[in-house]
Symmetry: C2
């Protein structure tokens, strides 16, 4: 018999009385999990792992100072690491320095192999990797909490695209109170980056919590938010398609090839047909991160009468278009038409350590040289979700106010 | 820089988790540590873990023959274990026997500590434990796949309960086509067990897939399905409440104390007010597993004009009521009133190894002695999600047909 199964009488009685499923029962009778992570009163965080037989346990995550890594593809920031210390009872432990408010990610490296923390059920998937998360409250991060405010509805909705020949999944946020009454709402289309999917903004991006909190405090207008899947070869997030429980990948065949952008009016038409929207340019916004910023740039200039608010978060440049799709032809002429009647807001945000920093500077020079108006926001750090959550928190209050 | 110094696979993988640039490091994004689990053509499954420094790696899960565990309170089934074998490159591997169609759960035990498989992003949470999952297609398990059929919408919806004094979260499934037209639909209220929440049926229970597949094939009526949170002290699933990222527990203060059952008409009223329902007894069903079966029994007898279809899946007995709430008074009289005009379907299902088997037999004897009609389904196995997915697949086709 597996020696890890410790039959603790209280647990057993609870299970017997309350009907816990068998696999959970096994888990409950594992040696009691450590309290990990524990956010201490001073906002340091203690990580613990019960692993009496391990020889080395390391925690890695974005709460530690980044390490600069050089690779043939260029240099990038990797999260730092810190060693846990083993106590006599076999529990390893490390306490961080005092941390600033933020949603952080981490994982353990146990004798050289990376695992998630078995004591922490809160994880987020980024492409093919799961990491644990924790939140230090305060400042921006108070927007990432579930607060005691009215909550919007978050739906996974399937729509049909004729041009892509597929049913496709998206996430739709409707604000608290939507179900009551006949009020019509403006719409933000919020797009993810390469390797992401229709779940990314509501999970990694905490968009649901940010919207609930900003709307409740009156800082953002009540709005509908539509989070599409920007990979035209995919119907839905990994695991949500007929391909089954596939290994997620960022390298998809129809990415930034124009097909997603060209199909976008089908999304807008579906939303305007099925939700109580304010269906005009002045009440539509589009924004996205990285590839989704590229998509927002392309879509907003391709359909210049569709969106009055445009947000490019750490956007890839229009020069990264993959192939010569019609949507990518005559960029200069199309963006000239877009800015002949300029958007109410064209907002560009990027981190000063982002690998796309240079091409964003080039794009701004291009806009400047033509006198196209925009607002620029530069933050610290690189191409990371921390920035995109902050950008969303700053972008939402500017929407539908002009 | 010499890439051998810093470009360690673990470092890269850790970096990938935290929002590395989507393009510059594109080549890195595919580096899942191993292909695991791999479902082989003969339906055996190979598990792999890259752990060169580990000394012992074990896989445990419900795909292995259960192990009988004896304790002072009785015996129960625990999942079996199997040892992986280390190859010269440091990858550990184990191939199972040929498996029957099913959704299975597993995890690794590495040098005595339980971890999830770092190569498999598909995990489900059961109370405070995450386990990896995989699916062997065929038979019942074909209902658990995402198929190329029209998909319903799954929404996380908040409603207000006056009697519980809280906003509370639930999962609502509306069938494909709901958004179009004015059709009204029958409603199934589907309740989880102790320690579960409003996410349990749609995640562990694969209810979304089962509904999509059975409705698409014409085996079940198109219906709305409402999955509530049955823990009256909780507003929502762990992590979805103002309490933050708390450690989930099954031992909650207001469970099976009558308060959830007493508030249930507020749920029905919310659904009938906000969805296009057929708002009468003949078009309402209630079913649940374990504690949710107990709740279904209590609610359906408390409000005998509300539900014409009742499903008790591995239900806890009415004798387990926790305290003397009004809803628990006069059970005999109330169930007599319910069966004075018997439900169109009163369905009782349980596994022959379920720890609640005896009290289900006692309850059936009680019903028999009074001549109250019901249908009984006995399956193999115990108090496990495998059975509840099967019961749901069998229960749905019987609904709203009489």
């Amino acid at each position: 018999m597996n020696k890890n199964i410790l039959i603790h009488p209280v647990m057993l009685m609870a299970a017997m009385a309350f009907g816990l499923p068998a696999f959970a029962q096994q888990a409950l009778w594992d040696k009691a999990p450590a309290k990990s992570p524990e956010v201490n009163p001073d906002n340091s965080v203690t990580f613990r792992l019960v692993a009496p037989e391990a020889r080395k346990v390391v925690v890695t995550g974005d709460f530690l100072p980044a390490v600069k890594v050089e690779s043939p593809e260029g240099s990038f920031d990797a999260p730092g690491t810190a060693e846990l210390t083993k106590s006599t009872d076999g529990t390893w432990e490390y306490t961080s320095s005092v941390l600033s408010p933020e949603l952080y990610s981490y994982s353990f490296i146990v004798d050289g192999t990376r695992f998630t923390d078995p004591s922490n059920v809160y994880q987020l998937r980024d492409i093919s990797t799961l990491s644990n998360i924790f939140i230090i409250d305060g400042d921006y991060a108070d927007n990432y909490r579930v607060s005691d405010v009215p909550h919007g509805t978050v739906s996974k909705v399937w729509y049909h695209s004729d041009s892509l020949g597929a049913d496709r999944r998206m996430t739709v946020y409707t604000p608290a109170g939507y179900e009551k009454g006949d009020r019509r709402y403006p719409v933000l289309y919020l797009l993810h980056g390469m390797g992401g999917d229709e779940n990314s903004w509501s999970e990694l991006g905490r968009a649901t919590q940010i919207l609930d909190n900003l709307i409740a405090s009156g800082k953002a207008e009540p709005m509908i938010v539509v989070m599409t899947n920007g990979n035209a070869s995919m119907q839905a997030a990994p695991g949500e398609t007929p391909q089954g429980l596939m290994i997620p990948t960022a390298q998809l065949p129809k990415t930034m090839d124009g097909s997603f952008e060209a199909h976008f009016p089908e999304v807008v038409e579906y939303i305007d047909s099925n939700y109580r929207t304010l269906a005009d340019k002045g009440h539509r916004a589009i924004a996205g991160l990285s590839m989704g910023g590229f998509h927002s740039m392309q879509i907003s200039k391709e359909y210049p009468e569709m969106f009055d608010y445009v947000g490019l978060f750490s956007a890839a440049s229009h020069k990264r278009a993959n192939g010569g799709a019609p949507v990518y032809e005559d960029f200069d002429g199309k963006i000239a038409r877009q800015f002949a009647n300029p958007p109410a807001l064209y907002w560009i945000a990027i981190g000063d350590r982002d690998f796309l920093y240079e091409e964003n500077r080039d794009f701004r020079s291009y806009l400047d040289s033509h006198g196209y108006p925009y607002i620029y926001r530069e933050s610290p750090d690189g191409h990371i979700w921390k920035n995109w959550r902050i950008y969303l928190s700053e972008f939402l209050p500017m929407l539908f106010t002009r």
